[in-house]
Symmetry: C2
Subunit: 227 residues, 2 copies
């Protein structure tokens, strides 16, 4: 007998099965998936699902957290060798490939907010895993001089960025952190554009164009290949 009681173990398995079924429905119905349909798939009454998730929103929250964690893991497992440029690009491609493999989870997490849904605070920690991964790269590059610090940023924006830098990449100059956030935003935009169909009937060489964009962003961010 494991430490967890049988009751608890069965419950955990059931919870996972519900989430798996819900993920399947995410593909067809998006964020407004039908709890009843999920229950039907599992051969149980819809009311039974409420034993495991108090509401549809709570189920969505679980899916969101899983998605963030899965994406965060993919980013952290990206090849971590070579220059800062290589590492950054590896994370970019890892994020893009995860999104291509899990398009509906990407939409759930980085698409339009679900109307009426308020993300609980449990979601913020897994949400920033990718950014922290990028932050580490920038921090390392900054420490080893693989970077153009660039013009400092004054005013309130400078203060904002200094505070973010303290949390995400201590020691890196705020302006570099600002450019890095911009790079992350561009990354999100590029993935969303590809996934949401904005490139349809224009650019077919998606991977090449993506890399082109990310390399372009990198030149502005100021990461250098290792000297």
């Amino acid at each position: 007998m494991t430490a967890a009681s049988l009751r608890a173990r069965v419950r955990a398995e059931m919870t996972d099965e519900i989430k798996a079924a819900a993920r399947r429905h995410l593909a067809t119905d998006g964020a407004n998936l039908s709890l009843r349909a999920v229950a039907r798939d599992l051969g149980m009454a819809s009311s039974a699902v409420y034993r495991y998730f108090a509401s549809r929103d709570e189920l969505l929250t679980a899916l969101i957290i899983d998605a963030y964690d899965s994406l965060g893991e993919a980013a952290e497992n990206a090849p971590d060798t070579g220059s800062a440029v290589d590492r950054w690009l590896a994370v970019c491609h890892a994020v893009r490939e995860w999104a291509l493999a899990n398009p509906h989870e990407w939409a759930l997490v980085y698409g339009s907010p679900v109307p009426g849904y308020q993300a609980p605070t449990d979601t913020v920690e897994p949400a920033i895993r990718v950014i922290l991964t990028l932050g580490r790269i920038v921090q390392d590059a900054s420490a080893s001089g693989e970077v153009e610090p660039g013009e400092p940023i004054g005013g309130r924006l400078g203060e904002d960025l200094a505070m973010v830098a303290e949390r995400a990449a201590p020691g890196a100059p705020p302006q570099l952190v600002g450019r890095s956030i911009a790079g992350w935003i561009h990354l999100c935009g590029a993935v969303s554009a590809e996934l949401f169909g904005q490139l349809n009937n224009t650019i077919e060489q998606r991977r090449d164009f993506f890399e082109f964009q990310m390399r372009g962003a990198l030149t502005w961010i100021g990461l250098r290949a290792s000297s």
Copy 2:
């Protein structure tokens, strides 16, 4: 009596009223707004709405087209003076400000695709108005030499970009068009990030940071202030 019959005029007004009410509901319910609720607001039976829109999807399509047109108009009305850099930045700010004023329409159009919704072909023409506006700026800049052409892009991606260039900015080098599309994608990403809450609790100086990003993208794109 006007050229249009009274019947047709009343019908057009009714159609507009339905769209206006639907836009109001967009704010609370997003893309899955309730046709019945819209009908209730207008004091009519839900079935009557179907005289004007064959389905909820058709209503959404009308809202999408209106949103694209409204955004396109905002972009085209952006100050059209000064250097290519100034014009490009003016369009960026116009887009952002439109999105801030109409967040739910932005989400409808650039957010996650509505599940099960297939955009009809009528939407593509209004959809590209903003891109064409940017294309004109790049084309002008290219013609007047306000631009760094940059390294040519070979391979299939080069062909893709050449075809896009032909449509959106004839005469401009494909690599410049590629960088411009990347700039447009960054613009979309920056607006979405701000609107969808990714900047919450980090950067408060939204406008400054947005301009910072767009200027950064511009340096890479290679537009110069007029010489």
